[in-house]
C-alpha cells in the first residue's frame, strides 16, 4: 500500500504537469491513442515473456514520435491516429488470446494495477518521473510558444517539428507511467481531466500546471484511501473523482458568472 502511494504520487505529479500541454495543444486524442497503442506493446511483451512495461514503453514512444512527426497542422491527423489505434488494439486482442497464463496481467494493463506494484517498480517509476519532469522544464518556453502559435514560434527560430516529436515522446513516457495506476483505458482521468479543470480556473500557465498537478495528486491519494476501505477498484475511484470534479466545475462556472454579473461592482 505504501508502494501504491509512492508510485501514485510520482505518476500524478507528472500526469498533471504534462496534461497542461496536452490540453493547450489539443492533443487529448493523441494522448488517449498512445495508451491504446501501448496496450498492444504491453500484451505483446507478456506473450514474449518480457515485462509489460517495457513493451508498453517501446510502443508508446515509437508511435509518439510518429504522431509528433505528423505535425500539428495535418488536419487528417485524428483519422490517421484512429486507424492505427484500431489496428493496434486488434493486435492486443490477438496477443491476449496467445497468452496462456492468467488474464490478470492484461486486466492490470487495461484498468491499472497500482495495488500490486513492487518496490523496484516504484524506483523505476520515480526515475522515469524525474526524467519526464526534467524534459518538461527544459522544453517549457519553446513548447509553450509553439503550442500557442506554431507559425510564429517557427518564424522566431523555435524548432517546432523537433518539439512536436520530443513532446509526444515525453508524453509517451508519462502515459506509460500513468498506465500503471489507472490503466490504458482510463488514462484521461489523470492526464487530461486535472489540466482541463485547471485551465478553467486560471489562464496563467505556471499556475495552471500547479493546479493540475495538485488535482491529479488529490484524485490519486483520495482514490487510494477510499480503495483501502472499499472492495472496489482504485481506478474507479480515481476516475470518478476526476469526472465529478470536472462536472462540478462546469456547473459552477455559469453560476459564478451570473453571480458576478448580478453583483454591482
Amino acid at each position: 500500500m505504501v508502494h501504491a502511494y509512492e508510485a501514485g504520487t510520482v505518476v500524478a505529479l507528472i500526469a498533471g504537469a504534462i496534461g497542461y500541454f496536452v490540453v493547450l495543444r489539443s492533443s487529448a486524442f493523441a494522448a488517449h491513442a498512445l495508451s491504446h497503442i501501448g496496450f498492444a506493446g504491453a500484451t505483446g511483451a507478456v506473450v514474449a515473456g518480457l515485462n509489460p512495461i517495457v513493451g508498453l514503453l517501446i510502443f508508446t514512444t515509437g508511435s509518439g514520435a510518429a504522431i509528433g512527426a505528423l505535425g500539428n497542422r495535418l488536419r487528417s491527423r485524428d483519422v490517421t491516429i484512429g486507424i492505427v489505434l484500431a489496428w493496434t488494439l486488434g493486435l492486443g486482442v490477438l496477443f491476449i488470446s496467445l497468452y496462456r497464463g492468467y488474464a490478470t496481467e492484461a486486466y492490470a494493463i487495461l484498468f491499472g494495477g497500482i495495488l500490486s506494484i513492487s518496490a523496484s517498480e516504484v524506483a523505476v517509476t520515480a526515475l522515469a518521473g524525474l526524467v519526464t519532469f526534467a524534459a518538461l522544464i527544459a522544453m517549457y518556453r519553446p513548447l509553450l510558444f509553439s503550442s500557442v502559435d506554431e507559425e510564429l514560434a517557427a518564424a522566431k527560430g523555435v524548432p517546432v517539428t523537433f518539439l512536436s516529436i520530443a513532446f509526444m515522446v515525453v508524453l509517451a513516457v508519462a502515459v506509460t507511467e500513468a498506465v500503471q495506476v489507472v490503466g490504458v483505458l482510463l488514462i484521461f482521468a489523470l492526464i487530461v481531466t486535472p489540466a482541463a479543470i485547471a485551465v478553467r480556473f486560471t489562464s496563467r500557465p505556471g499556475l495552471a500546471i500547479a493546479i493540475g498537478m495538485l488535482l491529479a495528486l488529490a484524485f490519486t491519494w483520495i482514490g487510494l484511501s477510499i480503495a483501502f476501505y472499499a472492495p472496489y477498484p482504485v481506478s474507479f475511484f480515481i476516475t470518478s473523482l476526476a469526472f465529478g470534479t470536472y462536472v462540478l466545475v462546469r456547473i459552477a462556472e455559469p453560476v459564478r458568472a451570473s453571480l458576478r454579473r448580478g453583483s454591482p461592482t
Binding site: 493547450l24 489539443s26 522544464i137 527544459a138 522544453m139 517549457y140 518556453r141 519553446p142 509553450l144 510558444f145 500557442v148 502559435d149 507559425e151 510564429l152 514560434a153 517557427a154 518564424a155 522566431k156 527560430g157 523555435v158 485551465v199 478553467r200 486560471t202 489562464s203 496563467r204 500557465p205 495552471a208
Partner: protein
C-alpha cells in the same frame, strides 16, 4: 543596386515550392522607415513573400537582403504577426504571457524571475494600450483586442522590421481604421519598416508609402497613386485590369483574380 537605406533589397528574386514557381524575377527595394502594403489576389504569393523574408523559404533564385543581411530564421530584429483567423476561444493563456513569449519564447528552460521580460512586456502592452485586458485569457478577447496583443507581441523585442500577414481580415471597419492608425503611428515614431498584407487597400491608403503588388507570378512595387491605376496594373500584368473609384474615394481593383482559385497554403 543596393542602397544603404534599404531595409529589404530583392534582386531578380524567385520563390518556389519544389518545382512550382510562385513568382519570379522580383526586384524591389523597400526603404528603411517606410510603410508598405502588400496587395494582390488570394493565392498570388503574398504570404510566400513574407516566408522568404523571414528565412523560412530559401529563394529559388536571385538575392535578397533583409536589414543588410541574408534572410535567416529567428532574426530578433523582425517582429511578425502570422496570418490567422482568431485564437481558439478555449485558449487559456493570458495576453501578457503571449506577448512575453515574443521576447524569450525561443529560449530553452523556464523564465527566471527578475529578468528583463516582464518590464519589456509591460512597455509593449502600454505602447498598444492593451494593459486593461492583458491578464485575461487570449481566447476570450474580441478580435480588436487580440490584434492589439499580437501587435504588442510583434513589438516587444524592439524590432526594426514589422511583417504582418492580413492583420485586418478579422476586424470590422472601425477596428481596421484604429489598428491601421496604431500601426502607422508606431511605424513613424520608431522609424520601423512595416510590411502589411491586406486584401483591401482602402483602410491603408491614407498611411502607406509604397505598394507591393503580388499577382500572376510577378511582384511589382510603386507608390500607391502610381501603381493602383488601370494603366499601370494592366501593363505590369499584361492583362486588362480596371481600378474603379466610388464616390467616397475608395478604390477597387478588378481583373487580377486568379482564373483558377487555389486555396491559401
Amino acid at each position: 543596386m543596393r542602397t544603404a537605406s534599404a531595409a529589404i533589397d530583392a534582386h531578380d528574386l524567385t520563390a518556389a515550392y519544389g518545382t512550382h514557381i510562385v513568382w519570379s524575377g522580383a526586384s524591389f527595394s523597400i526603404p528603411i522607415g517606410s510603410f508598405t502594403a502588400v496587395l494582390g489576389p488570394n493565392g498570388g504569393g503574398k504570404s510566400t513573400l513574407i516566408r522568404v523574408i523571414l528565412g523560412r523559404l530559401p529563394p529559388a533564385r536571385g538575392t535578397l537582403s533583409v536589414l543588410s543581411r541574408p534572410p535567416a530564421r529567428g532574426n530578433p530584429l523582425i517582429g511578425y504577426i502570422p496570418q490567422r483567423s482568431t485564437f481558439d476561444p478555449e485558449l487559456s493563456i493570458r495576453g501578457r504571457d503571449f506577448v512575453s513569449l515574443g521576447i524569450d519564447g525561443h529560449r530553452w528552460g523556464v523564465r527566471l524571475p527578475g529578468g528583463p521580460a516582464a518590464a519589456a512586456t509591460e512597455r509593449s502592452l502600454q505602447a498598444v494600450s492593451a494593459e486593461a485586458y492583458a491578464d485575461r485569457a487570449l481566447g476570450r478577447l474580441s478580435g480588436g483586442e487580440q490584434q492589439r496583443l499580437q501587435l504588442a507581441q510583434a513589438m516587444v523585442g524592439d524590432p526594426q522590421l514589422l511583417l504582418m500577414d492580413e492583420p485586418l481580415s478579422q476586424l470590422d471597419v472601425r477596428n481596421q481604421r484604429i489598428i491601421v492608425q496604431l500601426i502607422a503611428d508606431l511605424t513613424r515614431a520608431r522609424s520601423l519598416t512595416t510590411l502589411l498584407i491586406a486584401h483591401d487597400v482602402n483602410p491603408l491608403l491614407p498611411h502607406i508609402d509604397h505598394v507591393l503588388y503580388v499577382a500572376h507570378g510577378k511582384v511589382a512595387m510603386g507608390r500607391p497613386d502610381e501603381i493602383i491605376t488601370s494603366e499601370a496594373l494592366s501593363e505590369i500584368y499584361s492583362s486588362p485590369v480596371e481600378v474603379l473609384k466610388d464616390r467616397s474615394g475608395r478604390v477597387f481593383v478588378v481583373g487580377l483574380e486568379e482564373e483558377v482559385s487555389h486555396p491559401h497554403r
